[in-house]
C-alpha cells in the first residue's frame, strides 16, 4: 500500500487545539503518507474539519485559536516562528465543501493562484494542465474566456476549484467534504479524480460519507470528540476495526 520506510509528508505530534477555552483537538498524533489518499471520518463536531484546517493553518484566521504540539510538513514545523502561512498554503492546497469559484472566467479562476504568486512561465500551459488534472479540460476548453465559474454546474465548479488548487502545484491537497453539495454522479466523478490525483499529489479528505471514505482512501482516521481513535489502512478499518468506538460508528450503531 505504501512504503513503510518512506517518511510521511505530513505529520502531527501530540497536536491540540483550542477555540478560546473550548478544546477541539486532543493530542492528535498521525502520519500522512505521501501520494496516498487519507480519509478523516467521524461524527459532526469530532474535530475532523479542525484537524484538516490545521494542516494549512486555516484556523489562524479564527480569533482566539491556540495550539500545542506540532504539525510537520516534510519534517518542518508549519506553526514555527518565521513560517509564512501563505507559503504553507502554496504547498498544501485546500478544496472546500461548497464550490467557491470567483466571478471571473474559467481561465482566470485557475490562473488566479499563479498570478498572485508572481508566476512568470507559460500561464496558458499551466492552466490547461491543471484543468486536465481536474478532469475538466474537455468540458471547458472551448469557453475558457467566455464562461465564468458561475456558468458551470455544481460538479464542474468543484472540479474548477480543484484545478485552481492544483495550478500552483501543491504537494498536498486537503479536501473538506468536497462532495457534500454534489449529486451522486458529480460525486462519483470527483471520487475518480481523487484516485487519479493521488498518483502525483497527497490527498487528505474529510467526509461524512463513510462509503466514500471506504471507496477512495488508502488510509482512514476515525475521530471522536477531538481525539484520534483509530488510524490504519482503510481495508482494515472497515472490515475489522480494533476500537469498539470505531466499530459502533462505522456500523451505524452510534448513540
Amino acid at each position: 500500500m505504501s512504503d513503510p520506510g518512506a517518511p510521511p509528508i505530513l505529520s502531527t505530534r501530540a497536536f491540540s487545539l483550542w477555540y478560546g477555552s473550548h478544546q477541539a483537538l486532543f493530542q492528535v498524533t498521525l502520519d500522512i503518507a505521501a501520494r496516498q489518499v487519507t480519509a478523516i471520518i467521524g461524527p459532526s463536531g469530532c474535530g475532523k474539519s479542525t484537524l484538516i484546517r490545521a494542516f494549512n493553518r486555516l484556523n489562524d484566521l479564527i480569533p482566539g485559536v491556540r495550539t500545542s504540539g506540532e504539525v510537520l510538513f516534510r519534517g518542518e514545523e508549519i506553526y514555527g516562528r518565521g513560517v509564512d502561512p501563505v507559503d504553507v498554503r502554496r504547498h498544501i492546497g485546500m478544496v472546500f465543501q461548497k464550490p467557491n469559484p470567483f466571478p471571473k472566467s474559467v481561465f482566470e479562476n485557475v490562473a488566479f493562484g499563479l498570478r498572485i504568486n508572481g508566476f512568470r512561465g507559460n500561464l496558458a500551459e499551466r492552466v490547461e494542465r491543471a484543468l486536465q488534472q481536474a478532469a475538466l479540460w474537455d468540458e471547458v476548453k472551448d469557453d475558457l474566456h467566455r464562461k465564468t465559474g458561475y456558468d458551470l454546474s455544481g460538479g464542474q465548479q468543484q472540479r474548477l476549484c480543484i484545478a485552481r488548487a492544483l495550478a500552483v502545484a501543491p504537494e498536498v491537497l486537503l479536501m473538506d467534504e468536497p462532495c457534500s453539495a454534489l449529486d451522486p454522479i458529480a460525486s462519483a466523478k470527483i471520487e475518480d479524480l481523487i484516485r487519479e490525483l493521488a498518483r502525483s499529489v497527497t490527498v487528505v479528505i474529510v467526509t461524512h460519507n463513510m462509503q466514500q471514505a471506504a471507496r477512495v482512501s488508502n488510509w482512514t482516521a476515525f475521530m471522536l470528540l477531538g481525539e484520534l481513535v483509530e488510524f490504519g489502512p482503510t481495508r482494515e478499518v472497515f472490515t475489522r476495526p480494533t476500537d469498539g468506538r470505531t466499530e459502533a460508528y462505522i456500523t451505524g450503531r452510534f448513540g
Binding site: 463513510m210 462509503q211 472497515f238 472490515t239 466499530e247 456500523t251 451505524g252 450503531r253
Partner: protein, 221 residues
Amino acid sequence: MVREAFEHELRALEGEVVALGAAVAEAVRGAISALRTRDAALAERVNRADDDLNRRRFELEEQCLALLATQQPMASDLRVLTAVLHIATDLERMGDHAAGVARLVIRMGDEPLVKPLVDIPRMADLVVSMLDESLSAFVRRDAGAARRAAARDDEVDALHDQVHRELFLLMIQNPSTITQATYLMWASHGLERIADLVTNVCERVVFVVEGVLEDLNQLRG
C-alpha cells in the same frame, strides 16, 4: 440503538441459518437411521427434503445480497453477512451428502447388512453434534467453541479410516459383499465430508469474531 431495523434483519437471518442447520442435522440423522433400519420410505423422504434445503439456501443468499446492497454493512456486520453466505453454502452441501446417503439406502433395497453398523452411526452422532456446536458458537460469537468443534473432525477421520479398514477386510474375505461394502464406504465418506464442511463453518465463526481467516483443517495437520 440506531439501525434497529437492520439489526433485526441480521438477527432474523442468523435465526434462519440455525434453522437450516437444524434441518440438515435432521437429514443426517434420518439418512443414517434409514440405513440402520433399512427404511426405504424414510430414505425417500430425506432425499426429497433436500430440495427444500437447497431452496432455503438460495433464500438466505438473496437476503444477504439484499442487505449488502441496501444497508452497506461494515466491519462486524459485513463479516456476519459474508459468513452467512459461506455457511449457507456449506450447510446446503452437507444436505447433499445426507441425501446421497439416503439414495444409497434406496439402492441397497432390503438386502441384509453385511455387518452390524457401529462406527457409521457413531460418526453420524459426532458430525451432528459438531454441527450443533458450530452453529451455537456462531450465535454466541464464541471462537473458542468453534475451534473446539472443528478439532473433533479428527475423531470423525479416525472412525472413517477404521470403517474403511474393516470393509476392505470384509471384501477380501468375502467378495460377494463388495457391492454393499462399497455403498457403506460411500456413506462413511459422505459423513466424513460433512465433518469437513462443519470445520468450514467453524472457520467462518472465527472470522466473524476475530476478523481473521484461518484454516482450521490445516492447523491440526
